[in-house]
Symmetry: C2
Subunit: 215 residues, 2 copies
């Protein structure tokens, strides 16, 4: 069941640089085709929990719309992608930015920079019927009451069906897998002691989901 | 149970460049500390199966000793690492080398280059009692009867307890996770139609495990 994906899911596939303004703020060009990395499911921490920031790590927040996969699929055509989505959630792709910058320069994998325990705070699941248009939602993140990220899922460079088509052309998606769709601009550090509050709202400003954690 | 890890395991953690001669053959220096990447469990294919090589991909074989994790652990000290190993297996870390070279230059994640479906051929599990010394084994791989890799696990740069300590300092290891320990020299392409045969032998030359697949 989709609601149980934190326990049962096997992988987290996270898309990089899927919002042009975010790519730019880190000095990157918008990608010509989607790319992704894997995060381990051992990095989940449910809303209300605590993100642990390891000593020496500069940990950035990246608030993202998550898709919970509802059934197994491979080489899924974009036109059929919707039927593989069981629901939507709100997640933060915590990133060890200093370590990521180091491995990027060295051409090394991103897995450690993205994969620390508690580096994927995760909210409840909303079923498809509650999300009439996943490309018309607002994603926000505030630290200690100050808004840091506030973007629209309408600004994704590659939209959800394309993402599912691309990822499933490389690896089979399975029930309970999570697909993170990229972060809007405004990423920055989370410091020990910070209180972080994220929200997913519809186009009318109605709050659909909340995700909060302490660091 | 360890024997069921292909179905129940959640992640594959694969160590890079853990044999000096292999690091050198790809033009890399031996690393000063271990590094790793994640492969999805959707990439498993059991012995006797077929590795699919996607169009345009140069797929290299990397035969490796695999450790199946037997219990959940985090920040595992090297001195206690043995008790977290449920068993040993033989695996091939298939790698899209041309894609990996491209993403390395661009500072992008390795996940797609390592994560295609069928890119982790995997053997049976041997329990600890059958492997008196995991650092005194021979790993070999032959294509169409010709030996391509034949190395000793004694040549690992970072030994198993250090690998477990390092990985578990970043992410919790869970029952059924697989840790791949790196490949000896001799990597090269597998072409469609090839028959690949791998063996794990003890120091006396006795065959402990076999792994075979077609491409
Ligand atoms: Mg996984
Ligand atoms: Mg992200
Ligand atoms: Mg390898």
């Amino acid at each position: 069941m989709a609601s149980n994906f934190i326990q049962t899911g096997k992988k987290i596939v996270a898309i990089g640089r899927n919002y042009a303004a975010h790519a730019k703020e880190l000095g990157n060009k918008p990608p010509k085709e989607p790319f992704f990395f894997l995060k381990p499911t051992s990095s989940y921490v449910p809303s209300g929990g605590k993100v642990e920031i390891p000593r020496g790590i500069v940990a950035h927040h990246e608030v993202e719309l998550g898709l919970v996969i509802g059934k197994k699929g491979r080489d899924i055509p974009a036109a059929q992608a919707d039927s593989y989505v069981a629901g939507y959630t709100l997640a933060v792709d915590m990133t060890a930015r200093n370590l990521q910058n180091k491995v990027r320069k060295a051409g090394l994998p991103w897995s450690s920079a993205k994969g620390f325990d508690t580096f994927t705070p995760i909210g409840q699941v909303l079923l498809n019927k509650d999300i009439p248009d996943p490309h018309n939602l607002r994603l926000s993140l505030a630290i200690n009451g100050e808004i840091k990220q506030d973007g629209s899922t309408g600004d994704m460079i590659f939209r959800i069906p394309q993402l599912i088509e691309h990822v499933s052309s490389i690896m089979t998606l399975e029930e309970g897998d999570l697909l993170l769709t990229g972060t809007p601009e405004g990423v920055g550090p989370v410091e020990p002691g910070d209180k972080v509050l994220c929200a997913l709202k519809d186009a009318q400003g109605k709050e659909l989901l909340k995700l909060e954690f302490d660091a």
